[in-house]
Structure formats: C-alpha cells, structure tokens
C-alpha cells in the first residue's frame, strides 16, 4: 500500500486559467459582434484570423490546459511536473497571443513581426504545458482510454502549432515565405484539421469519457466502442495528415468522420445506460454540444461529397468552435467550478458541521435559460453562416456573448458561494487555489 502525498493533485492555477480563457472568449465574440467578419478557410482576412486565434488559442486551448492540469493528475494518480509551469503556460500564451492579435491587425507594417514573435511565445507556453502533462502521463501504465485520447490530442497540438508558427513566419518574413511556401500549400487545411479535429476534439472526447460517467453514474469502461473510436480516429489522422496521395487523405478524412460518428453513438449509449435518472444541468447542456458535433459532421460530409468546402467552411468552423467545443466547455465549467469552489470553501468543514452540497452552490433554474439562449444563438448563427447572412450571424454572436457573460457571472457566484444558504461560512484560510477568495 502507498501513502499518497496530499496537496500535489490539485491544480492551483486552473481557476485563474479558466478566468483568462473566458475573458478571451468574450473578447473574440465582442470583436465579431462589433463587425469583424466571420469567414472560412478560403477567406482569411487579417482581423478574422485574429478572432479565430483568440478563440482557438485564447479560449479553447487555455480552457483545455486548465482542465487537463487538474484532470491528468487525477486520471494518472501522479502529480504535474510543476505547478509553477502551469502559470508559465498561462503567461506565455496570454502574452504571445496579445502579440499575435496585434500582429494580425498590423500585417504589412514592420510591426507585423509581432505575429511570429507572439506565436513563438505561444509555442513556448504550449510546450511547457505539454511537458507538464507528459510527466504524469509517462508514469501511468496501463494508460486508460481517456489518457490515450489526451496524448493523441497533445501530439496533434504540437503539429498544429508547428504549422502555425511556419505560417506566421511565411506571412511576415519574405525569405521564409519562399522557403516554406510549397510546404504550406495544403497547410491551412492540415492546420485546421489537426487543431480543431485533433487537439480539441480528441482531447474533449478523452475528458468527456471520464467526466460524463462520473456525474451520471454511467459505465466508465467503454469497452470495444471506446477502442474503436480511438483506433479509427488515430488511423484517420495519420492518413489525412501524413498520407502522400489525395486518395489516402480522403480515406483518412472518412475515418475521422466515422470515429466521430462512433463516438456520438457511444455518448448516446452512455446517457441511456446512466444509473442516475435525473441529469444535472451541465450534462443537459452538454447535449447541445453533442448535437453541434453531429451537425458539424453532417456539414463536413455534405462538403466532402459536393466538393463544397469553401461553401461549408464558415458554418462548419462556427458550429465546431461555438457549438461543440465552446458548448461543451461552458457546460462542463458549470460543474467543475462549483466542485472546486466547494472543495476550497468547505473541504475543511466536512464531517464537522452542516455543509452545503455542491448543488447548493449553483442555481440551475436561472442558468438553464442562459444555456437555452446560448445554444439557440448557435443554431441561428450556424444557419446564418451557411446562408451567408452576415448580420444575422453577428446578431447571434452578440447573443452568445451575452449568454457567455451571464454564465461567467454564474461561475463567479458559484466560486464565491453566492447561492449557499446561511450560515455562509467564512472562507477557509489556506485555499489551495491561486484566485482571490471573496
């Protein structure tokens, strides 16, 4: 038997990372609502690129790292390499992203060098994050299914940011453009596939396979289905990204699509087989994210069959980023934040007196309307993006911005114990988290 060490499984910077990520999400939405054009892969204006990277790096990548810093030590039963390294990831990504966003807006001027400079800082922050997670992952044998997805996601993250840095150089340094140009011909599609499909989606799948069964009391072992999802996805990404011929790439894309389909069926099984009849709001809201992923899959299929990627790209990008990834993130934060707050605030009092339940830190009734508004806005936005109705898309994103702000308020209330009934205990000294207590 082992004697576990006490405090090294809590990720101290995770709440602060979540707060920064939400700020970036709000900023990106505000920029679109204020008029920056939403566009697809074929139409990459500089302000649009700034918004897309605020979303992908500033929001989803930070959100994923914040979650993984807490999640991987739990799954592997092994601590992060260093808590301080988590702060390094947050600082380098935030600072680098600010440089990148400015660089995009200043493309064509000498200050455009901010783009590769900021991109380099982002890559450093991401490498620090990968290293921080690689240590506990390397110690764990055998690897659970969720950890395999996370490792695959991290590998594809590395590929994504390497390609991204090459783009940043090609866009701003003429010599680099000449050298890298041929290599980057197909690069935008690979960059997007490895980032959206690989890093984000594989990681989200891995985390969902752990979090959903935990709070719905559903079977945790996914058996052959889970392995089929993983194997098909890995085969797909290898063929789609490394396959030298168009036919191999197409085969790979089809395999990725099949893996996502298998995953969605497995998630339906997971909801069906749950032992807990009543589903908490965070997992009700997650259904909106899964439907978005299904719609994204259908859009990708339609695009592939009709050679209409240009037509489908804006709505596909929107539904994957806002519906699937942001939707899943916002919904799971509605459980993760109250849980961490409950631990920080009431852990010391457990067994020694009345303590509110985790559910008492939230008000599901008021948050339910916000989630409904968010996903309604996503549905309208996806349709508007498909039909090319820019004002409607802008309006939908304005609504999703308001919904995000209202959810952020609910997270903050949960964190501060706003809904906890009296007696409202004083904050416990020595909170394990680096975020101001009220």
């Amino acid at each position: 038997m082992l004697t576990p060490t006490a405090t090294d499984r809590i990720s101290r910077w995770t709440p602060a990372i979540f707060a920064c990520a939400l700020g970036n999400f709000a900023l990106a939405q505000a920029l679109v609502a204020a008029g920056v054009r939403w566009a697809g892969v074929a139409d990459l204006a500089a302000p649009t690129l700034a918004v897309v990277h605020l979303l992908t790096i500033g929001w989803i990548t930070l959100l994923m790292f914040g979650a993984l810093f807490q999640f991987v030590p739990v799954v592997t039963n092994s601590p992060l390499l260093s808590q301080r390294l988590s702060l390094g990831t947050l600082s380098f990504i935030e600072l680098g992203l600010a440089g990148m966003v400015l660089g995009f807006f200043l493309l064509g001027s000498p200050l455009a060098a901010l783009l590769p400079a900021g991109g380099s800082l982002v890559v450093i922050g991401i490498l620090a994050g990968i290293l921080n997670l690689a240590v506990p992952l390397a110690r764990k044998r055998p690897l659970p299914l969720s950890a395999r997805f996370i490792i695959a996601g991290l590998v594809l993250l590395f590929l994504t940011v390497s390609l991204g840095l090459a783009f940043a150089l090609a866009l701003t340094v003429p010599a680099a453009a000449q050298a890298l140009g041929p290599m980057l011909a197909n690069g935008v599609a690979d960059h997007a596939l490895a980032g959206l499909g690989g890093w984000f989606t594989l990681t989200a799948i891995g985390v969902s396979y752990e979090l959903l069964p935990m709070f719905m009391l559903a079977p945790h072992e996914r058996g052959a289905w889970g392995h089929a999802v993983f194997g098909t996805a890995i085969l797909g990404f290898a063929a789609a990204l490394l396959g030298g011929f168009e036919s191999i790439k197409l085969f790979g894309q089809a395999a990725i699509g099949l893996a996502i389909l298998l995953y969605l069926i497995d998630i339906a099984r997971l909801y069906r087989d749950r032992k807990r009849r009543q589903i908490e709001l965070h997992n009700q809201a997650a259904i909106g994210a899964f439907i978005s992923l299904g719609i994204g899959l259908a859009l990708a299929l339609a695009a592939a069959l009709s050679h209409g990627w240009t037509r489908a790209a804006p709505s596909l990008l929107f539904v994957v980023l806002f519906g699937w990834l942001s939707g899943l993130g916002l919904s799971q934060l509605y459980k993760i934040i109250p849980f961490l707050a409950w631990l920080a605030r009431f852990g010391r009092r457990l067994g020694r007196g009345p303590v509110p339940r985790v559910q008492d830190l939230v008000n599901e009734r008021s948050a339910r309307y916000v989630f409904v508004a968010y996903f309604a806005a996503i549905a309208v936005g996806a349709a508007a993006a498909w039909l090319g109705l820019a004002p409607f898309l802008r309006g939908a994103i304005a609504v999703s911005l308001v919904a995000t702000a209202l959810l952020a308020r609910e997270y903050r209330r949960a964190w501060r114990g706003h809904y906890a009934q009296t007696p409202r205990p004083a904050p416990v000294p020595g909170s394990p988290f680096h975020l101001p207590q009220p």
Partner: protein, 176 residues
C-alpha cells in the same frame, strides 16, 4: 418510559436522485425528543449509519419490504445492540482486512456507485465519529485525490492501494 411516536424520515427519493441524505438524517436525529425513535425509509440497508448512530446511543431494527425498500427503526438507549455492525459481504475482497500494523478497521464504507463528492463526504463524516487511532476502511471506485489534503489537514494517516477490480481500497487512521 412511555414510548414516543417515531419521527419518520423518507430519504428514498433523494437517494434515487443520487443525493447524499446523511446531513438530513443527522439533522432529524438532532430534532428528536429525548427517547423518541427515528423511523428511516431508504433504498438500501444503511450499514455505515448503524455505526454512526450507534455511537450516539441508538440501536436499530431493519426490515426489508421489497426491492430497494428498507425501513429502519432507530431507538435511543439501545447502543449495545448495535455496537458492532455486521460487515457487508464483499465478493471482491481478495485479501485479509488488516495486513499492516494498524488496528482492524472499525468500519468499512463501500462507496462504489456514489457520485463524487459523496464518497469523500461519507469518509470524512465517518472519520469524525472514530476515536483517535481507530481505522476506517473504504472502497472507492476512483482514487479520491481531493480527499487527501483534507485528511492531512486533520492529522489522519492514509494507505491506499488499487485492487485487481480497479477499485481503490483505503485505510484511514484517525489522528490524535
């Protein structure tokens, strides 16, 4: 002594919703008149509760009325009848309970099938009922990583191992 009518507490709905009714039960116990019994309706035999209330001087009589229908009558002043709760049979147990120099566990909590953080709440609540040096055994589905800082803060010692069936077996000794 005249027998007071028992106070009835039905926690079946809360349990079916996945809730943790122990705080409500303890609250109800606190509201009892002197000598008043508590009639508890649950979905399973609440063996750990026998121990918790046994320490408060309650004896118990359990009856099963059907699948997932239990009625337990806790009566004050009969502690001796319930001081040693019967351990739940556990088909998965492959080893003797105590293979360390620690005393034999006073109580075993089977926390499988409970939603986090209920296992942690149960463990800490039960731990607070133990005397210094006494040991609690718990079987958890997951490694309770958030429990360890709380145990350390309370001066409790812990040993943990993962069993072949994937569950985690914890031995927790209350500090002085």
């Amino acid at each position: 002594m005249t027998m007071l009518a028992p106070l009835t507490l039905d926690v079946r709905d809360e349990l079916r919703r996945g809730g943790e009714p122990l705080p409500r039960i303890l609250e109800a116990v606190g509201k009892l008149e002197p000598g008043q019994p508590l009639r508890l309706l649950t979905t399973f035999e609440p063996i750990p509760l026998y121990h918790v209330l046994g320490r408060k001087g309650f004896g118990h009589v359990a009856s099963r009325h059907g699948e997932g229908e239990w009625e337990i009558l806790f009566t004050p002043g009969q502690a001796s009848a319930s001081e040693t709760p019967k351990r739940q049979p556990d088909a998965n147990r492959t080893e003797p309970v105590a293979h360390t120099d620690w005393p034999t566990p006073k109580t075993t909590l089977d926390n499988r099938g409970l939603m986090p953080p209920e296992p942690m709440i149960r463990i800490l609540q039960t731990l607070e009922e133990l005397a210094p040096g006494e040991v609690l055994e718990a079987i958890n589905e997951r490694n309770p990583v958030f429990l360890y800082p709380e145990l350390e803060a309370r001066g409790a010692a812990i040993k943990v191992e993962q069993r072949d069936d994937g569950a985690f077996r914890l031995l927790i000794r209350r500090g002085g």
